[in-house]
């Protein structure tokens, strides 16, 4: 599965989609320019770029596996990557 997923990742990135692209992109909070995440300052307005990239934004929308960090959809009971049991949302509320 590893190889299959690596190939899949590659082709997603090739077309500009996927989590690797998110990790490499930040949006300037001053001028909204889309910038590569390795830059410190915005190429358009020279403001300091935020630390959080688009992948952080993506993760903020969803729950992630507590063990391996894989982003999970609501319907999953087990992490598809490491097999860890996902806590039901009712259990999460109780915590």
């Amino acid at each position: 599965m590893k190889k299959r997923n690596a190939n899949r990742k590659k082709s997603l990135s090739y077309f500009g989609f996927g989590t690797d692209i998110m990790k490499h992109s930040v949006v300037c909070s001053e001028c909204n320019s889309l910038e590569p995440s390795n830059r410190m300052y915005c190429s358009k307005c020279n403001s300091k770029l935020p630390k959080s990239n688009l992948h952080d934004l993506y993760k903020s929308y969803h729950i992630s596996c507590e063990k391996c960090g894989t982003v999970l959809s609501n319907s999953m009971h087990y992490c598809p990557h490491c097999g860890n049991r996902v806590k039901a949302s009712s259990e999460l509320c109780a915590l």
Binding site: N32, L34, Y58, S75, P80, G83
Partner: protein, 130 residues
Amino acid sequence: MDVKKNKTASFKINKTPSGNIYEFFCDLSHALVYSSKPIRADNPEEELMRAWGEGGKEYFNRCQKCGKWVIDAMYNPDVWSCVQCVPIEDYPDYCPVCGAKSQELSNFCHVCGAKLFYGGEEENEKTERK
């Protein structure tokens, strides 16, 4: 921000002497994606749709679930949705429903029969259609 049932991505208008410049932003990341040339039309609606049609639209993907317009990075092409509505899935090593170790190259769990790749999505669609 959301304008007229998401006919276009969110936008800002900059008024200039030679016309209005429309700036279109990704509805999720708020990245500035496209700035139009200065445009003048008879009414605001027409102006907007011209700016959108003449270049704005081609940089965006529309989420089939929520209608947001997003850049490629925030789009899940597997299911034509934004990554807020449906997270991107990898081929699973474990069944997301029963936790059984999945077998290489099978589309369904050999223990519980659940669809392994975007199985939850299909479930959602089925219940929506009912």
